[in-house]
Amino acid sequence: MNASAGIGLDEVRSLEERYLMRTYKRGAVDFVRGEGPLLWDADGKEYLDFLSGISVCSLGHCHPAVVAAVTEQSARLMHVSNLFYTEPMARLAQRLSESSLGGRVFFANSGTEANECAIKVARKHAHGRGIAAPEIVSFESDFHGRSYGALSATPALARNEALGPMLPGFRSVPRNDAEALRAAVGPNTAAVLIEPIQGEAGVQPISDEALLAARQACDEAGALLIFDEIQTGIGRTGSLWAYEQTPVRPDVITSAKALGGGFPIGACVTGPEAADVLEPGDHGSTFAAGPVATSAALAVLEIVDDPELLRGVRELGAELSAGLTALDGVAEVRGRGLMIGVGLAPELDAAAVGADLLQRGLVVNVPAPSTLRLLPPLVVDSSHVERAVGLVGESLLGLAT
């Protein structure tokens, strides 16, 4: 047994079955190493990763700049809590604010926690307007996280009565239904909380019409428009933030996933309107804004917030979309930049395709029964795109016959 191979898949599975809560169905592979867009399992087999740990490793695996930032900072200072000042936290807040809405930042450890902060901001902002029972409106099939606030804003999961009761004050309307959204927003609305492109739903873009309706309804009601950019942000769609390619500007955005390049971190970023809503005592976190996580995020933004890289994301996204669209068995390709949802022909089982692709050495995700989700690292090149399209084509052809 060599060091990189570890104890092997069978033993890992055995330990997982015995000791971990059964919350995940995992692919049958034990990854031990990664570099750029490539992964290797315990047997040394190579995989092309077009999932990036669900859009987390957007710079590829173990990017040297992120590794250096984490290594250097962790050797110097790992944690002091938010009771004191640290430079990386302050520099990252400046960078996030100046690259987006221009207000203030609250750091968290994950996307769901970033959304919890946004929900608190929205509710307190509403109380400040005299609303006693504030409501938050989302689209059906939005996904905002699994803690109780974020879960309550995630309609499909909030219906799980075994986990109830959910928090009061959340309602949802059908995706892209501008009229229903306008009707749902009223005097008690604290915020509209939506993903500009729904990720877990299978990469479903929200129409310009619906986004404009959300903005207008929020303006009329005095409510906040919150974009969950946890999956769409940090260059995934070909701009640093997905809202930059929409006709609206939100009041609050939440970020996580790719922000830390593999290191856990989340952030809630406001515009001026909501910048001073939270005050001392309203919110907090022991681990958030730690110097290692914020140093990792600074390294990520140093690389991603670059027009040339973002142009490459848009170009490669167009290449990937065009290649996938031309395949037999593909009914529809959705998304923007390198956030791609592939709707398969009805006769194809996406779960079977996903498992087959893993066998063939391509890592993708199956968020819905007929949908593949591709979230490749932003640093892939045309050869990686060509290889991925070829593998998907072979798989679809093999399963169709």
Binding site: E98, Q245, E332
Partner: protein
């Protein structure tokens, strides 16, 4: 008691005529007063009716003005919000451009140099090669935004895309696909300047 015992002498003719005339004049005056009273009453009725009609008309006009004012306030709020969004985008663009970087002459993409000093940011308005729109058909549920209310949205979209580094061709393609705007030059020229 001389006066009591003697019969009353007949009235002179002149007196009798004068009395009749006085009675006629009195009757005429009474008739005239009645005519005047009737006329005044009718005038009062008409005045009241006219006042009622005027009040009704004014109330209607006030209601219309109230509606119009509400509508104008709502439209002004929307314009203000959209203007604020545009201003915020332009401020963001200015922040991103940094001093001395208005002409896209930069070649260093990193904001912080090796000594940790802040370096001027690269211009996001630098022209880049166009990226072809994916050849995929738009999903049927995504209807293009239309109507006057979306005009500001289209301008904001173009501004934000320019700030984020999109090319003229990309912005124009997005405006055509998302807003059904065929002549995109006016919007894009206002942001990027006229095409050379």
């Amino acid at each position: 008691m001389r006066g009591k015992d003697r019969p009353e002498p007949p009235k002179p003719l002149a007196t009798s005529t004068a009395e009749r005339l006085a009675a006629i004049v009195e009757a005429a005056e009474r008739a005239a007063v009645k005519v005047i009273d009737d006329a005044e009453e009718e005038a009062r009725d008409r005045l009241e009716q006219a006042e009622a009609e005027a009040e009704q008309l004014i109330a209607g006009r006030l209601a219309e003005l109230d509606e119009l004012t509400d509508s104008l306030i709502s439209q002004a709020s929307t314009v203000r919000a959209q203007s604020e969004q545009l201003i915020a985008s332009l401020e963001e663009a200015r922040r991103r451009l940094g001093p001395g970087r208005e002409h896209g002459l930069d070649s260093e993409p990193n904001r912080y140099d090796r000594q940790g000093q802040e370096a001027p940011r690269p211009s996001h308005l630098t022209a880049v090669d166009p990226v072809a729109e994916p050849a995929t058909p738009a999903p049927t549920e995504l209807r293009p935004a239309t109507g006057e209310a979306t005009a500001a949205g289209a301008r904001l979209l173009a501004t934000q895309m320019a700030v984020s580094g999109s090319s003229r061709e990309e912005i124009e393609a997005r405006l055509r696909n998302g807003f059904e705007i065929e002549d995109t030059a006016a919007i894009v020229d206002a942001i990027l300047g006229p095409e050379e």
